[in-house]
């Protein structure tokens, strides 16, 4: 008797699990919505812009002077979430504006900013 109750419980549990598994699968495989398309394209575009900054000759030179390879920087950028990436880019473009206005710092400042943002250094936190 006890055994058969246990069996019923187990059976119901399994049935429910299987139903739930079905739902999980159905919700995962679906058409890709336009919003998702836009955000994945936006991420790619942002990555391309950041790459073009990191690959700049003066920036690359400074990076190698400091013994940091572009690959390290780009690999770290690649691991960022979308929102981290967005704030990284906005800090970076502000850095460029500042760099252009104050040509003295230019690439040096940019590179230090990049390194700070990808967490290689923490100069600015100590200010």
């Amino acid at each position: 008797m006890k055994n058969s109750i246990a069996r019923t419980v187990l059976f119901n549990y399994l049935a429910l699990t299987i139903v739930c598994m079905g739902f999980v699968q159905a919700s995962h495989a679906e058409v890709i919505g336009t919003e998702q398309l836009i955000s994945s394209e936006a991420r790619e575009a942002t990555m391309t812009r950041i790459e073009s900054i990191v690959m700049r000759d003066d920036v690359r030179q400074q990076l190698s002077n400091l013994g940091v390879s572009q690959e390290v920087v780009l690999a770290r950028v690649d691991r960022m979430t979308d929102s981290e990436l967005a704030s990284f880019e906005s800090s970076l473009s502000q850095g460029i504006v500042g760099g252009d206005a104050l040509a003295v710092i230019g690439a040096v400042f940019l590179v230090l900013l990049i390194l700070e943002l990808v967490g290689v250094t923490d100069i600015f936190k100590s200010i």
């Binding site: 058409v31 890709i32 919505g33 836009i38 994945s40 100069i123 600015f124």
Partner: protein, 342 residues
Amino acid sequence: MSHAGPRRPAHSHIRWRTVFTVLAGTVLAACSTAPDTVRDYGALTQTIELSDTPFIPQERYQCGPAALLTVLSVADATPPLDEVVERVYLPGSRGSLQAEITATVRAYGRIPYVIDASMSAIASEIQAGRPVMVLQNLGVSWLPRWHYSVVVGINPLADRVVLRSGTDARRKTLTDTFLRTWSRSDYWGLVVLRPGELPANPEPQRYLQAVAGLEATGRYHDALSGYDAALTRWPDSTVALYGAATANYQLGQLAPAIEYYQRILVTEPDHLSARNNMAYALFESGYYVDALVNIQEVILRADEDDALLGQYLASRDELCARASIIDPPVDKAESYCATAGE
């Protein structure tokens, strides 16, 4: 360098502090007055005022709901104020967030479009008959007093703007004062569009993103109207075609969905999301072999580091699983699905 410790010489700290101060100073100086490009009225030379705009006086701290209902009602959405308050007002912070406001606009089947950061952008919307909801900071940056209001009129000759603001039905403010308060929200301004309506100077990506928000919240009819409007303006926009296809698919209108996806694939055969979705539309239309051919093509063309690869594989597995139980059996289904489920 015998000892490579984490500490740097003290003078480097000082140098960076100086650099940072100089930069911060430059940025702050740039913020104090609005640049001419922002201040310019554009094509507007005469006084204009949308006097018909309803006036909804705010209750304590609730400028967000009142301003939002004002712009909603101009777009023929007239929910009760209580309901809007419920949706956007955050009692804890005595205010509303921009994200809640755009989400609420979508909940009423309207398109929330954030305008460009300029007086001329406000002017062109008002000329098109749409008042503009703006976020201002009436305090100072270090002691903020955030406030939502609605710009209903501009007088370029006297340099004034007219606002529905708080309990003030017709608040006249000097343009420079207005711009100073507006600048502190990074010039956040919103118009509410009926589905099918385009803003005065639409920026394609931003507009389509706003419409995609409707699609993502299941408002496929409204989204489709938005994509159709986009296609009349930008007939070749991939995102607009994709959106129209996807909204049609979600509405069960498979033939137009397939047609739109195909239009993308003619020029961009590597548009894998479009091909992935088209496979679903084909499958559901009974073109099982075409569906399997296309989803296999997606997997073949996908890069290993494609962010959507997991989804493509799940699509392939699902379509193959569904094909395997169709009677009579789908011709050569196994050959398209040989690696499915791995």
